[in-house]
Amino acid sequence: MIEGPLVELDGIGVRIGSTQILRDVDLEIGAGEVVGLFGANGAGKTTALRLIATLIRPAQGSGRVLGADLTSPERYDVRRRIGMIGHTPGIFPELTLGENLRYAARVAGVPADRANEALAAVGLAGAVDRLAGASSHGMQRRTEFARELMIDRSLLLLDEPHSALDRDAVDLVEGLIARKAEEGGAVVVVSHDRDRINKIAHRSVELSGGTLS
């Protein structure tokens, strides 16, 4: 159990090459919170998600995610508790949907039989043997949600989670978000659809020119 905020960013700046993507970002996200993150194209939303996911180091400022300092090796230990679904699917198109989840299960140390259960939970029980590359974008996204269901995550980072999903899948995603918050986790949702996110988020923040407001 983590004392204090799950995400704590203080004056964070991120540079990629010679470009300053984020500057002076302050953000706190507590347990049970759902936070909407808005911003125009190129505002730094994806970089902010990757930063919170501990996948990039800040160039300035300090921060902690799930209690781990963003600049120290302890951040590697919390990664398995952070789920991220980006705009582009992170699954392998040459593998079937089932193989993708079994790979995830084996790497994460989760019993492989949970893979089929997770796929069934997102309505893909009949598509276990279907190649990911031959599946629709919506099915690929459902598979990624199945992966997040399968692994016990404390923090979910979702980039445009409603994109390419049908009504049933949208309900499923919103159920997952609500459940994660109820369980004491936290969710950050990036979206251009403010109305939809405002319905499910406890609060929203806006990125503009790399700065949070």
């Binding site: 996948l55 990039i56 040459e94 593998l95 193989e99 140390g109 990624e144 692994i151």
Partner: protein, 222 residues
């Protein structure tokens, strides 16, 4: 629940071999091109049997080096950023990822060496001498090239220079392997000890393996 290093290595090997089975890049593109390259040499230098027998082993190793690096670099650099992110957030140890990618590339390299070797024996009338030592040499070269390619692929993935860096990185590092492989065959042919050449290749493999494992995390974080 956490998972062990070798369990993760096995998951990566299984994933990469499944991907290769479906894509067929190595089996249906690189191997045939390697064989065709060996077929083209006699067209350039003539079909004199003695000459072909003389240059056959050297040509074989040059083809194995050139195409072998392509095999392993291709495997290592074929992961997109979202795929790498997803694996990192599953808790994949970067060193386990490196070892897994290297092992799957080694297996593909061994298949490449055997198939191209059969072509070399048939076309150049190359003799198979000192079979146990030849197997050792083939294995060391396969592991060495897989390591080199995987390390280079990781560097390529982590820099903006892209594949332009590949020849610059691979060429100097593969020279000791090429030298060791050709001199080992020559030593076997002449009945000399090849232990020093085998040790040279093994040393290169060990050094690249250590560098690869130690730099796996920093390269992932770049």
């Amino acid at each position: 629940m956490t998972t062990g290093f070798w369990h993760q290595v096995a998951a990566v090997v299984n994933r990469d071999l499944l991907r290769e089975r479906r894509r067929g890049d190595v089996l249906w593109v690189t191997i045939p091109f390697g064989a065709i390259a060996l077929l083209l040499v006699p067209l350039a230098v003539g079909t004199d049997a003695t000459l072909l027998r003389e240059i056959g082993p050297g040509m074989y190793w040059v083809i194995v080096m050139l195409f072998g690096v392509l095999v392993s670099v291709g495997k290592a650099s074929s992961e997109t950023l979202p795929q790498q992110d997803a694996s990192a957030l599953l808790g994949l140890d970067p060193a386990a990822g490196f070892v897994g990618r290297t092992l799957s590339a080694t297996l593909l390299m061994l298949i490449f060496e055997v198939v191209v070797g059969v072509v070399a024996v048939g076309l150049y009338d190359v003799s198979i001498i000192g079979f146990p030592w030849l197997v050792v040499t083939l294995l060391i070269v396969a592991v060495g090239l897989a390591l080199l390619g995987t390390l280079t692929g990781s560097i390529v993935n982590s820099t903006s220079a892209g594949t332009a860096l590949v020849p610059l990185l691979v060429a100097p590092l593969s020279v000791p392997l090429l030298l060791g492989a050709t001199q080992s065959y020559e030593g076997l042919r002449l009945g000399h000890s090849i232990l020093s050449w085998v040790l040279l290749m093994a040393a290169v493999v060990l050094i690249v393996a250590i560098i690869g494992v130690l730099t796996a995390r920093p390269l992932q974080e770049t």
